[in-house]
């Protein structure tokens, strides 16, 4: 049972992130929601790599003969870098939107009227 706690945490993170994106009106909170979803998916990738009583896959001659899988570690690094780039882009766009509209309420911006 205790080995299932990371998976429960993954589902909880993704659901909280989706809640923040769908039901919050402030643009910064929507950005935070997307970051939470991304953290959940990264945690899922890392959890897939773990085996019981394993060490980090760096040195071959270390103590325990079992190593955790190195491929998901590489996938997670790529995903974290992509997440940083997307976060920087979203925040700079939010700064531009605030300069134009003067408000961060997502119901007041985004219509088709001038």
């Amino acid at each position: 049972m205790i080995y299932n706690i990371p998976y429960i945490a993954v589902v909880a993170l993704i659901l909280i992130g989706l809640y923040a994106v769908i039901f919050k009106r402030n643009l910064i909170k929507i950005v935070i929601g997307i970051t939470l979803i991304e953290s959940g998916v990264n945690l899922f990738l890392i959890t897939l790599a773990f085996r019981k009583d394993s060490v980090a896959p760096i040195y071959r001659g270390s103590g325990s003969p079992l190593m955790s899988l190195p491929v998901p570690h590489a996938l997670t690094l790529t995903s974290i870098v992509i997440g940083v780039a997307v976060l920087a882009l979203m925040l700079s766009l939010v700064v531009h939107i605030y300069r134009h509209y003067g408000t961060l309420d997502s119901r007041k911006i985004g219509g088709e009227e001038e």
């Binding site: 991304e38 998916v41 899922f44 992509i82 882009l89 766009l93 531009h96 911006i109």
Partner: protein, 536 residues
């Protein structure tokens, strides 16, 4: 081996690497001269398209040939039987999408020479443009699931920055923000599905995954996440609402490549359904009475239901609009509905034992329509950009009588109008005829809805033609001149290809579309090129 054979052998890597290298060299070259930078960008795109044409010639020469390229090694699998390297696997469907992407890239770069001339920050524009083209080619050619996710994110980040290019207007920046939120959410769910599949089968390669997959409960979750995420990026109702905002507020040359990115996401959905889950498409899920409910029947009915909704809502919203580019964007949503209609009805019947020709014919019509729709909607967006460049007006209420001053633009718009609504002799008629005939045999109601909404699309564009081009000469448009020659050249290239496909449809159908359909229905060929010796 001479130089041409070496080029063809390394071509999948070169097609992605050359625009990428060109994108990072562009800021350096633009410090020297502006015209040199424009010429350099066009040279890079023409070089890439030459390599694409060489690869297409090589693949179409033998029936069913697949070109596999392994990064950093010579064998696809190691001695133990593990496929550990990243592969690019190019078969008939991939090279078909690459041909569409090439035509759109050439037209877009030639168009943006004159269209963006008075803007500042053009070195960043061309860098991001080449990055978008590289991301689109990478998404189309890859044979590895995580690599597909990476190129999807590259193209969506580059597209978002280009949609928000006119930062002096608030609406364009807002459209860019909405696009990146939608793209990031969809891509993260796709990564979640890839992680689920990796955790079960220890494989990221599409061919290895296709040979090992059994339809357990976790695989069902992965299928749902993949199709929903890719459908949102492709613009299927009711997840289509970002499409008019993003297409309508971006510069017109950017919209042309955005059409290519949307079609590439649709290609991704096709690849997941037909190849990765291809062996499970005839699994019986349940049994009601004596009808077996297979997976392909369920997926087909779901996709056909979504497609009817897409066609209706796309056409109805387009009738109401008064902004030029938003109206064409809604028409683009309706056209994606046509492709999905053909593919859904092909899924329900292509695997049955009694009647196999209807499904293959519907699949042919759907795939042919991808090519036709990209060209038609692309030409319409270029014309909208030309009208904006000449008059600086976007709303149709303030236009009128432009046909006297802009003769060539009017002719190109007429060609695009006839092509989109499926009128003979343009290419839209050929693919829509196949769609009507094949969906009629699945259920007559589908063909009736398709024909009705085709006529309504004609009504939409006749409204635009009357209010923008016909009518008396307005005094405020007295000094409106014809657009510069490079924009006319780009529109002319696409118009010539449209008329060529319209006059000789059977030639294109047998030589270009038929290999793509063969590649879709035959997933064992895809698998055996990597693993070798797969039991059917």
């Amino acid at each position: 081996m001479n130089i041409i054979d070496e080029l063809i052998f390394h071509s999948p890597a070169l097609i992605v690497a050359i625009p990428l290298l060109g994108a990072f060299l562009t800021p350096l070259i633009s410090k020297i001269n502006d015209k040199l930078r424009n010429g350099f960008v066009i040279f890079i795109v023409l070089l890439t398209s030459a390599i694409v044409l060489l690869l297409a010639n090589d693949i179409y020469s033998v029936c069913g040939k697949i070109h596999t390229y392994v990064f950093g090694g010579t064998q696809t699998i190691t001695e133990g039987g593990f496929a550990i390297r990243i592969l690019f696997e190019v078969d008939g469907l991939n090279i078909f999408m690459a041909l569409i992407a090439t035509i759109l890239a050439i037209a877009g770069v030639i168009y943006s020479w004159a269209f963006m001339k008075e803007n500042t920050g053009l070195d960043k524009y061309y860098t991001l443009y080449l990055l978008m083209i590289a991301g689109m080619f990478g998404m189309i050619l890859t044979g590895d699931m995580f690599n597909f996710f990476v190129f999807l994110e590259i193209s969506s980040i580059a597209s978002c920055a280009l949609i928000a290019f006119w930062t002096n207007k608030g609406k364009a920046v807002d459209a860019g923000f909405k696009y990146i939120v939608i793209s990031a959410t969809g891509a993260l769910f796709i990564l979640f599905a890839v992680a689920i599949l990796y955790g079960q089968y220890n494989a990221l390669n599409m061919a290895v995954l296709a040979s090992k997959i059994q339809f357990s409960f976790l695989d069902k979750i992965a299928l749902v996440l993949l199709i929903s995420g890719l459908a949102m990026k492709a613009g299927i109702v009711p997840m289509h609402m970002w499409l008019p905002d993003a297409y309508g507020r971006a510069p017109s040359s950017v919209t042309l490549i955005l059409i290519g990115v949307t079609q590439a996401s649709l290609y991704g959905a096709l690849r997941m359904i037909f190849t990765v889950y291809g062996g499970n498409l005839t699994n019986t899920l349940n049994q009601i009475g004596d009808i077996n409910i297979d997976l392909n029947l369920l997926l087909g009915i779901f996709i056909v239901g979504l497609s009817l909704l897409t066609i209706f809502i796309g056409v109805l919203m387009a009738l109401k609009e008064n902004n030029f580019k938003r109206m064409i964007a809604f028409a683009a949503v309706a056209e994606i509905g046509y492709m999905i209609l053909a593919i859904g009805s092909a899924l329900t019947t292509a695997f049955s034992t009694t009647d196999t020709t209807t499904g293959v014919m519907a699949l042919k019509g759907g795939i042919f329509h991808i090519l036709n729709d990209a060209l038609d909607v692309g030409l319409l967006f270029l014309v909208a950009g030309a009208v904006y460049y000449a008059t600086k007006e976007t709303s149709l209420n303030s236009l009128g009588g432009l046909a006297r001053n802009m003769k060539y633009t009017t002719i190109f718009f007429l060609i695009g109008l006839l092509a989109v609504s499926g009128m003979p002799p343009m290419n839209g008629f050929a693919s829509k005829l196949i769609i009507y005939q094949s969906t009629y045999q699945v259920n007559p109601i589908l063909a009736i809805v398709a024909i009705l909404c085709s006529i309504l699309l004609l009504a939409v564009f006749v409204k635009v033609f009357h209010s923008a081009f016909l009518g008396p000469k307005l005094p405020k448009f007295d000094e409106v001149k014809e657009v510069p020659k490079s924009m006319l050249l780009a529109m002319g290239i696409i118009a010539v290809i449209i008329i060529f496909i319209g006059l000789f449809p059977d030639l294109v159908l047998n030589n270009i579309v038929q290999p793509a359909v063969n590649a879709l229905t035959d997933h064992t060929n895809y698998i055996s090129n990597v693993i070798g010796g797969i039991q059917p």
